[in-house]
Symmetry: C2
């Protein structure tokens, strides 16, 4: 089997060149990629191994396992990372003056071990460089994410069929999970870092929406066990409750992120008002979020609309509120840019961002819509197309 | 809400004292716990924060979020890890001469940031210390795992109902996933490190069993997408195929690990012989694996039986073989001890180990049984009780 299929070579070249160009602007003259997400980014595969990318030469792939790929130019099998040094020398690669390693994505022990391969090189942090490369998507990546959006929308179209009277939030979630899996969901939500742990998503309703959690998700929820305190807590969906569905969109190596709200019967006026506010924010940002606009402006625009509607106390949580209204999405659910008031990122064409202005209405549930968008020269392009009003069970 | 419920205080004290005693024997005089799994171990909760355990004083809990716990003696809310220093000083805690941090479980950046809280302390690796503490379970932990085993067995009892003629491995897996979730599975498989990624488990059959994967699982499998190359590849289960079911046992913060095999019609003599060999190994180890026995001996005993039956080429994989026959299990699926020929661990009472002598029979599938056992003074106690013969669909 070829490590990089013929029809994928140009795509990989594009990504490698992007990383090289970011390296060139940085203090590093080579990067050794080792985290799962970044190995997938630089090859379109997951293997156990490493990719060495110097600023001025061809990359080299080092594979530990599986033993299924052909060795060819630039592809070597190794037993352990220490073998990298010898191969680099045999291929005429100079020792880099500084080596970038994924300090935010690899364990301390792993970084120390990999750094020892380059004892004379200065260590720099490669994580932000790769995050930056991945922030702007290629056409190929955008198509993967559009495909995710289509699958996810299709399953959201079945949510009403999943519901039956007297159901708990968890039972509803399990039924949706099954449909997602049958539609091709890989069955995991790939997130970066240990501040987020989740199964196939979050279904929250009623009072549970106002249970704060430990993670960096917009919404909390008690969960069904202290071992995973997020989302559904197996409480029955009652009349007047809203049910916020924010379920997995990972059907290939990429993901889309989409939230919609259902309600059982009529819900409260406050919930309706807040939901309308969420839509107002999205409509405004869809026009304003153009390449060149500072990411932090999106946050301020949203807050202005929230303030006009006097909904501050419910926005992005109630008992506990988070300080962002969206985030990049791609191979991982939490990528750059993060839509915070402190962001220093500037919007660029082909960034992909999930915008999720959400409100927690005590005792009722959560409302608001989340779409995943592509930043284009004429505004945001929604790839998670599905009716946005609160729908009735 | 109390961080540590009244009826859980003694249990936590037991664990903290165990950690202190391991600290005493180590080069560290304090540990700062920060990883999710170890925060759960030391509190029975997941929160974002830290636990400081000095060898000679009471531990202190530092919580960032969620904001739901009462502050009481030894429990403090902080905004960022740097606040820890001031609080420790105000509580009369001396600067530790050496500080243990989870070097294998936290990112390089996190370790560097936490180390800066103790600029004058020597850094040591806390990961092996906590792994060692978690290796031997308390009665409370054993009960959690027994409960997992009961739930898991119950769902395995429904596997036959999940199957219908013409089904693919993936469709079967999805049906089992749904039953697991309805039975209380939390919907994630908690694994340590980035060498293992999996959804709710592995269902492999036919030729797919011999597809090597990148991860440290005993069995490979192609998966349904290169982004998650493990397990079912959506191929139809054919007559004569074996179907190995190794699905999620995580119903509380702990896990049990169990594998059983089904076949569609009669399977090959070689498969039957290998499966019988797996049972022979388990029966032997159930008697021999007593406290005081070196863990590596279990590996050698198993290999001797495999050699007697001349099944080496199929054992623990075929195209690609792994060098262990089992592993500790608990909060994470991959704990200590690891049953390798190089293990230096000695069996102790109340260790919990999954033993999984498995064989890959080309074109047929995988066979063998995996049980999770408690090490007792009279031999291994199986907590994953379920018929062990190859069952027919």
């Amino acid at each position: 089997m070829k490590l990089i299929p013929y029809n994928f070579k140009n795509e990989i070249l594009l990504r490698i060149n992007k990383i090289k160009s970011i390296l060139k602007d940085s203090a590093s003259d080579a990067i050794l990629v080792a985290s799962n997400a970044n190995i997938y980014y630089t090859t379109g595969r997951f293997f156990r191994g490493y990719i060495y990318i110097p600023v001025d030469k061809a990359p080299i792939w080092f594979i530990i396992k599986p033993n299924v790929y052909e060795e060819e130019d630039g592809i070597f099998y190794i037993r352990k990372p220490e073998d990298i040094n010898t191969i680099l020398k045999s291929q005429g690669y100079d020792t880099p003056v500084s080596i970038a390693l994924e300090e935010n994505d690899l364990s301390y022990s792993d970084v120390i071990r990999l750094k020892a391969i380059f004892p004379d090189s200065v260590l720099t942090n490669g994580s932000p460089l790769l995050k930056k490369a991945r922030m702007v998507k290629t056409e190929w990546e955008l198509n993967e994410m559009k495909e995710d959006g289509l699958h996810q929308s299709k399953v959201y179209g079945e949510v009403k069929d999943c519901y039956h009277q007297g159901m708990t939030d968890l039972e509803l979630q399990i039924e949706i999970e099954k449909r997602l899996r049958l539609e091709g969901s890989l069955g995991v939500s790939r997130v970066s870092g240990n501040l987020m742990e989740i199964n196939l998503g979050s279904v929250i309703s009623g009072a549970n929406a106002d249970n704060p959690g430990p993670y960096e998700f917009t919404m909390g929820g008690e969960g069904v066990h202290p071992a995973l305190p997020v989302g559904a807590n197996n409480s029955i969906i009652l009349k007047g409750h809203t049910v916020m569905i924010d379920m997995n969109g990972a059907f290939n190596g990429y993901q889309s992120d989409m939230t919609r709200v259902w309600s059982l019967g009529e819900t409260s006026d406050l919930a309706l008002k807040a939901h309308a506010c969420s839509l107002k924010i999205l409509r405004k940002l869809e026009k304003e979020a153009l390449p060149g606009v500072p990411v932090k402006d999106l946050y301020f625009i949203a807050m202005e609309i929230v303030n006009e509607d006097s909904l501050q106390e419910f926005f992005m949580g109630h008992k506990s509120q988070v300080g962002f209204i969206g985030h990049g999405v791609g191979i991982e659910l939490n990528e750059l840019p993060v839509l915070t008031p402190k962001s220093k990122d500037i919007l660029e064409e082909n960034m992909t961002i999930a915008i999720e202005p959400k409100f927690v209405i005590p005792q009722v549930g959560a409302v608001g819509v989340e779409n995943t968008y592509i930043v284009t020269n004429t505004g945001l392009e929604n790839i998670t197309i599905f009716p946005e009003d609160i729908q009735k069970f």
